[in-house]
């Protein structure tokens, strides 16, 4: 019995408040040094779900994933986009040096198809990254996805709305994303497996629109009366 307990104590998945176990989980670096530092130098966990919680698109949420997509697609791994809310714009992805041959966009109808597709993608050895917009998910369904993610060691990022931050979730990493000033992205770690949550950092992502972050907003003024329609 005590042997069993010892084994359990060694396991990084058993969370011990007083001690920071060095986790042995596989991970992929995010490509942002500031964020990697907050995530214990690891990055996106592999073989587990990650959640990004945000309210509106256009705050740099995809740019957060661009370094990972670049690296995986160049390594010949497939990147799946499952039910994206808008069109991933091919010229922009190509400009970011992402191999579009490895990018596959999937649209499903209905929750059953969505879960089935996501599970299949996660279990396949060809997958590198799955980005999905699931909408509403029951805790049981997230659990199911978590098991599928464990079966294959891929990175899976779910984009969900911020109101789900209160709901508990079996995901290994939960990040809350908010816009910060100077087009930066404020990342708040809501949950991190094997460690304390609560870290915050701000990533400068102004380069996504080709802006230098020290550039002061230039007011383009003009007589545009139609704007107030």
């Amino acid at each position: 019995m005590s042997e069993l307990l010892d084994t359990l104590m060694q396991d990084a998945r058993v969370w011990q408040g007083h001690r920071h176990n060095k986790t042995t989980q596989l991970a992929e670096l995010t490509g942002y040094q500031a964020l990697d530092n907050q995530l214990g130098g690891l990055g996106w966990p592999r073989g587990a779900l990650s959640e990004c919680l945000l309210d509106t698109p256009g705050i740099g949420e995809l740019t957060l994933l661009v370094p990972l997509m670049q690296r995986l697609s160049r390594a010949g791994k497939t990147v799946f986009w499952l039910n994206p809310p808008h069109t991933p714009y091919a010229p922009a992805l190509a400009r970011e040096d992402i191999d579009l041959n490895q990018v596959i966009m999937i649209h499903t109808e209905g929750k059953d198809d969505f879960l089935w597709t996501l599970e299949n993608c996660l279990r396949s050895p060809v997958t590198g990254l799955v980005i999905a917009w699931p909408g509403r998910l029951a805790a049981r369904e997230i659990r199911r996805l978590q098991l599928a993610a464990e079966a294959g060691s891929n990175v899976c990022v779910l984009f969900r709305e911020r109101r789900y931050a209160e709901q508990n979730s079996p995901a290994a990493l939960r990040l809350q994303l908010e816009p910060d000033n100077q087009q930066s992205l404020k990342v708040h770690v809501v949950k991190r497996r094997g460690s304390w949550p609560g870290q915050r950092c701000s990533l400068a992502l102004a380069h996504r629109a080709g802006l230098l972050h020290h550039e002061t907003p230039r007011i383009v003024q003009g007589p545009w009366p139609a704007i107030a329609r």
Partner: protein
């Protein structure tokens, strides 16, 4: 030359019985539906026999399964048998309605003697649950007569064959009725007695055709047979006595057909990526299902899982009477690559095709898309979505302008005054060549919510959001 004749006494019966799992008593009736011509062992056990009136048979066994003989169907089934026999023998002749002839004299060295050939064929018959009476003869007709009498023996001795033929009664020798009567009136009872007649006498007193027939049996007159050529497609059909209402019920016959397909493909050393399933219904138009795999495939279980996925998605419209599997498209098989000796490197290419096939089978062909930039100035036309294909196109990305990662399905009206304006304007004007005119000034702006948007003003001074810098 040595010929092997396989006589299938109840081919149609065997064909139907092996498509079902557990069969009740079954009979085949003739075209007019009056008379039983073949009865399965279960039916025979209940007292039904071939030649019986159907009414009698039904009163004996009320729940009797009845199938009407159909010459076209029988011809097709016979050809199916030729197809597997072709794997063992090269020179095959179809002898409709129920016989197959194979030249085996040249196979003895390959298989290591006549008994080995005999055993190979018997094993193949057993594996396919077929009943056949084999017969060996030095001429095609001799082999046929011996096989049909069920007196086949594994021997290549000509004297033995002639002796077996000699003992055969005249009625079994398949003379036409008139000749048979005339021979009997001459006081002849066995084929051996006919053989001993002088040829000239026979031609004069009977007919030259009778002489030719006798000589062809004996082998003193040539009897050339054109060999059968296997078709360049695969086709298998399963017919059901009881209609199948649940798609689950189709999986059992499909399993057998697909393993036949796998063998066929292995034998051809080819793969396929497209199967056609034809489900016939009694009162409705046949259902056609096209099962596509995203890459070359030959394994039965891969096909079966795709088909069962498809059947789950698409329930049967009506009960199924027969099921046909057709494969017309064959692809050369590539040498399996990437698998090292210890099997440590997984074949990712194959895994990729398996995944795509599964997804396409369940979600439909249009659900999966691959993206590519396109040379056009108009943002909504500067990209394209195409079918998923494993290619290695190289795209040049150094000349592409700065664009947002999200493009909206259509421009959305801008409803607020942006907090800050950044670069712009970038004028995009084009489309005069195809009528889809676009004349816009694009800006990058930050909204009050912190979103970085790609907005434009069009000719009519309307402001729209066209993308997000996600």
């Amino acid at each position: 030359m040595l010929w092997l004749h396989l006589h299938f006494p109840h081919l149609l019966l065997d064909h139907i019985r092996r498509s079902g799992e557990n069969m009740a008593a079954l009979v085949i009736v003739n075209g007019s539906g009056q008379k039983v011509i073949q009865a399965c062992p279960a039916a025979r056990g209940l007292g039904v026999s071939a030649g019986m009136q159907l009414k009698t048979a039904i009163s004996l066994v009320p729940e009797l399964g009845i199938v009407r003989a159909n010459p076209q169907q029988e011809a097709r089934i016979l050809e199916d048998q030729a197809r597997w026999l072709y794997q063992h023998a090269a020179h095959i002749v179809l002898v409709p309605p129920d016989g197959l002839l194979a030249e085996i004299g040249s196979l003895q060295r390959l298989y290591g003697g006549l008994p080995a050939v005999w055993r190979t064929v018997e094993d193949a018959l057993h594996e396919r649950q077929l009943t056949a009476w084999p017969g060996i003869g030095h001429t095609p007709l001799a082999a046929r007569l011996i096989a049909r009498n069920g007196t086949g023996a594994c021997t290549s001795d000509k004297a033995h064959i002639l002796q077996a033929l000699g003992k055969m009664p005249l009625l079994a020798a398949e003379f036409d009725e008139r000749t048979c009567t005339r021979l009997q009136r001459l006081g002849l009872n066995t084929l051996g007695e006919v053989f001993s007649l002088p040829p000239a006498e026979m031609a004069r007193r009977l007919s030259p055709e009778t002489l030719a027939y006798i000589q062809k049996i004996q082998g003193s007159r040539p009897d050339p047979r054109a060999p059968w050529q296997p078709p360049h497609h695969f086709r298998q059909q399963a017919d059901f006595v009881q209609e199948i209402e649940q798609s689950q019920g189709l999986l059992f016959p499909l399993h057998r057909m697909l393993s036949e397909l796998e063998k066929d493909l292995c034998w051809r050393q080819q793969d396929t990526d497209c199967l056609l399933l034809l489900l016939r219904h009694r009162h409705a138009e046949p259902t056609r299902l096209r099962i596509r795999t995203s890459g070359p495939e030959h394994r039965a279980e891969a096909f079966l899982s795709l088909i069962s996925l498809r059947l789950e998605q698409q329930p049967l419209q009506a009960p199924v009477v027969s099921l046909r599997l057709v494969v017309k498209r064959f692809l050369g098989r590539e040498a399996p690559g990437g698998q090292d000796l210890l099997g440590e490197n997984q074949d990712l290419n194959e895994a990729w095709h398996t995944l795509m096939s599964r997804l396409q089978a369940r979600l439909g062909d249009n659900a999966l898309r691959q993206l590519a930039p396109r040379a056009d100035h108009r943002p909504e036309r500067a990209w394209s979505a195409s079918e998923v294909r494993r290619t290695n196109r190289t795209t040049t990305n150094n000349q592409l302008p700065r664009r947002p990662l999200w493009l909206l399905q259509g421009p959305q009206p801008l409803t607020e005054t942006p907090k800050a304006w950044f670069t712009g304007p970038e004028r995009i004007s084009g489309g005069w060549w195809d009528g889809q005119r676009v004349h816009r000034d694009y800006y990058i702006a930050q909204l009050n919510s912190g979103q970085l948007a790609w907005v434009f003003r069009d000719v009519r001074d309307g402001w729209f959001i066209h993308g997000w810098f996600g």
